[in-house]
Symmetry: C2
Subunit: 239 residues, 2 copies
Amino acid sequence: MVKMVKRASRAELSLGRGPAKGRARRAGPPPANNRASKQTIRCENVARILEAAEAVFATKGFSGATTAEIATRAGIPKPNLHYYFRTKQALYRAVLDDILALWLDATASIVAEAEPADALRRYIEAKMAYSRTRPFASKVFANELLHGAPAVKGFLGGAMKRLVDDKAKVIEGWITAGRIAPIDPYHLFFVLWAATQTYADFDCQIAAVLGKKKLGPTDFDRAGETVATLILRGLRLKV
Amino acid sequence: MVKMVKRASRAELSLGRGPAKGRARRAGPPPANNRASKQTIRCENVARILEAAEAVFATKGFSGATTAEIATRAGIPKPNLHYYFRTKQALYRAVLDDILALWLDATASIVAEAEPADALRRYIEAKMAYSRTRPFASKVFANELLHGAPAVKGFLGGAMKRLVDDKAKVIEGWITAGRIAPIDPYHLFFVLWAATQTYADFDCQIAAVLGKKKLGPTDFDRAGETVATLILRGLRLKV
DNA sequence: GACCATCTTGACCATTTGGTCAAGATAGCA
DNA sequence: TGCTATCTTGACCAAATGGTCAAGATGGTC
C-alpha cells in the first residue's frame, strides 16, 4: 500500500522498442549461470539509467537535462537509452515513480498508538536521513513541484492526500487526548517537510551561509537535532 | 546596505546594444511632457521585461524558459528583448538581483533591542507575506538554489552570510540573556526560511493535499499562525 | 548449429531556440 | 527642419537536442 509502483511494473511501463511482450520474464528458475542473462542486462541497464537520470534531472532540471548527458553518465550510447525509455518524458516519469514511493514510506512511524515524541522524532530522523542519503531524489521532486507538478499532480491529490489525511487524524487524536499541544496538523506536516527537505534541496545555500564547502554528517545531525527540538517544544513535549 | 543593487545600476549592467553611454540619463529636469520620453520608454520596457521574465523563469526554470515566451508575455518582439538584455543569462541575472534585495529586507525586525516574540513573529509574517505576494520571485530563487546556485553563489557566501552571521549573534544574545530557550541560531533561520518559503515554492503540493485548487489568503494566514506558534513555543516564548 | 528475440550503436534528421542583422521608425535637440 | 541617438522588428542563422533508423552483435533455446 505504501509502494506506489513496484520496480518491475515501473520498468514495464517504460519499455523500449522490442521488449518481451506477453508473459515474458516468467518467475521460473533464473538462468543457471550468474553471467549477464537477458533479464539481468535489462535490469542493470535500467537501474544504471535511472540512477544517472536522477542525478542529471536533479542538477539540471527536466528541460536542462539532456538525454545525451544521462546516457554518458550511465555509460551507454544515447540510442541505447532510448531503447529502454522511449522518451525523455517517460524516463522522467520512471525516475519520479521511484521517488514517490520513497516519499510515502517515511511516515511509517506516525501511528495513533505511538508515543508522540518518539514518533515525531523518528519521522524527523527519517526525513533528514532521506535528505542526506538521497539528495538527488529530493531535488528532482522539489523541481517537479516548483514547476507546478505537471507529472505528479494526480499523485499529490490522490495517494499523498489520502496518506496525509490519515496521518492528520492521528495528530488530531493526540491533540484531543491532550498528548500534544493544539496545532493545525496539515500545516505541521508542511513545516516538517519543508524543514527537513530544505537540507537536501537548498544544501548549497545552507553550506554557503555556514561557511562550508559542503554539508557533512555533523551538519545533518545538528540540523535534525534543531528541527526535532523546535517541533517537540512547539508541541509542548519533553525534549 | 540592504539593497544589493539599485534599480538604475542593475539596468545599467544589462544594457542593450546602443544605450546611453557615458553620463547619459542625467538627473536633470524630466522632459516637460508626460508622454513617452526615451527614458520612460527604457524604464517601462525594462520593467515589463523583468516582470515577464520572473514569471516565466519561475514556472519553467532557466533552461525551460524561452526568450520568445518572455518577449511575448512582455508584449514585445523578441529582438526588442535582446536589445535591452543582450543574453538570456544577463536577463536572468537581472531578475535575480531584484530578488536578492527583497530577500535581505525581511530580516529588518531581528534586532537585539526588540522583544524576541515580536521580532520573530514579525519576521515570519514578513516572509509569509513575501511568499504570498511574490511567489514567482521565491520560485526563481528556489530554482536557482536547487541547481547549485551557479549565479548567486557569491551572494550566498558574501552578503547573505554576513547578514545571517549578524542576526545569529542577535539570537545568541537573546539566548544568553535567557530571553529565549537555547537553539542553534543558524538552523533556526534555515527552518524559518524553509517553513515560510515552502508556501510559495511548493504551493501546488500544499494546495493538492488541502484539497484546494489554489491557496487563498486564509490558507496563508493559517500557515503563518501555525509556523509562528510552533517557533515561539519552540523557543519557549509566550504565544 | 540454426533460429529468434533482445540488445547495441554510428549515422542521421527535424525542430527548437538563443542570438544577429540591417533597415526603418521615433524622440530629442539645435 | 535637419541631424543624431535610441528604439523597433521581420527575416535569418548556427548550434543543440530529442528522437529515429537500420545494420550488426549477442544471449537463449531447440
